[in-house]
Symmetry: C2
Amino acid sequence: MITKNQIKYIKDLSQKSFRTQEKKFVVEGEKLLIELLQSEVTIDTIYALPTWADANPNVAVTIISEKELSRISQLKSPNKVLAVVYTFEDEIGDDLSNGLTLFLDRINDPGNFGTIIRMADWFGVNKIVCTSKSVDVYNSKVIQSSMGSVYRIPVFYVEPDTFFSQYKSQFPENAIIGAAMDGETLAEVNLPENGLLVMGSESHGISEEIESHVTKSVTIPNLGQAESLNVAVATGIILWEWRRG
Amino acid sequence: MITKNQIKYIKDLSQKSFRTQEKKFVVEGEKLLIELLQSEVTIDTIYALPTWADANPNVAVTIISEKELSRISQLKSPNKVLAVVYTFEDEIGDDLSNGLTLFLDRINDPGNFGTIIRMADWFGVNKIVCTSKSVDVYNSKVIQSSMGSVYRIPVFYVEPDTFFSQYKSQFPENAIIGAAMDGETLAEVNLPENGLLVMGSESHGISEEIESHVTKSVTIPNLGQAESLNVAVATGIILWEWRRG
């Protein structure tokens, strides 16, 4: 049973401003709930159909009907369970950890953003840093397409100049690699163990402001006629190359 | 001006069975229309807003209103122009051309399928071959996410046993590489110039029937905790590795 106020509250969480104010977001579906329950994320409330509740007797839930689930779900085909969850810590702090870090500039497509988080999790990226011009990490499509990796890979929104100057002063030896159409051929670039990979938008590339911080531009050569590569695919290829050994 | 019958006809083209019967499909939006007009694809009718028609005076169009466009469009935000187009030749024939070929088994997500077509076009893949369990190439989301590459990369639907026996008899020396969770590490595999790359579904991998034709399985090592890689990203990484030289 769910109240009208709860329904309104959950629906309002589809808006970024309300998520920011309430410090909560929505996670949906069986697969993501399994990962959620294994994570350290703080759960507010889980709303579930009786079948899901029966199959998960140790999880505290509010039981709802299919009709109620379809009212609060943002999915076309609502999937048994929905959780309201607290957002994570979102301050990068003064002490950046070293490793392989991803910087995303103006990545607006939530599906691509979620896929990039999932891939960062595959390749052992330590964190993702974004400008405020990238999509909100708590957008439901980002959460869905990250397939649970969003619980493991911290995503920070930063003011770029401050971040880059802090990064360069802490790790003066690290490469800051940017993907571009006119850079060095990726296979020929020497990629040291630690560093920062900067990816820009598919249509507009890396913005000038961010470009000025890049120490080397790399290119995935075009052997055919496509105008561009999907940004998630391009990120995956560069991360692979960085870690292929 | 568009008639009720035309509206119904275009809307019915969102169904695979009707597309197959009529041998036509729908292409939408300015960017895809530019690529369409540069391609050798046969156009049936272009429906356009007056602004698009004015900007493209040499293109024969049926002028429609915004309201009419929104009735025939499958996009959330209809974009000025929509074309009804003839499907391409869809028989692979007896004489397979050599090169780098992609075989897709059960790729059901239209966005991933379109992204893979676009990437095949980037890496110079000569054609894509699929089982009938993959999504229809004329699905509007496939067309949109292929970004025009669908006009350049032929996609064939085949009966797998027939195809593989024909492929092996024509190119007995070629590698048939399959992506798997337990194969050889990708960076250590010797990938000859020509061959076939087999990609299965994200959730279920390559089906047993197809697996039996694979001569070598390769794996992209998991350096983190994600359960799987997006299939379009995995395809991109293997194609990159194949062509990185």
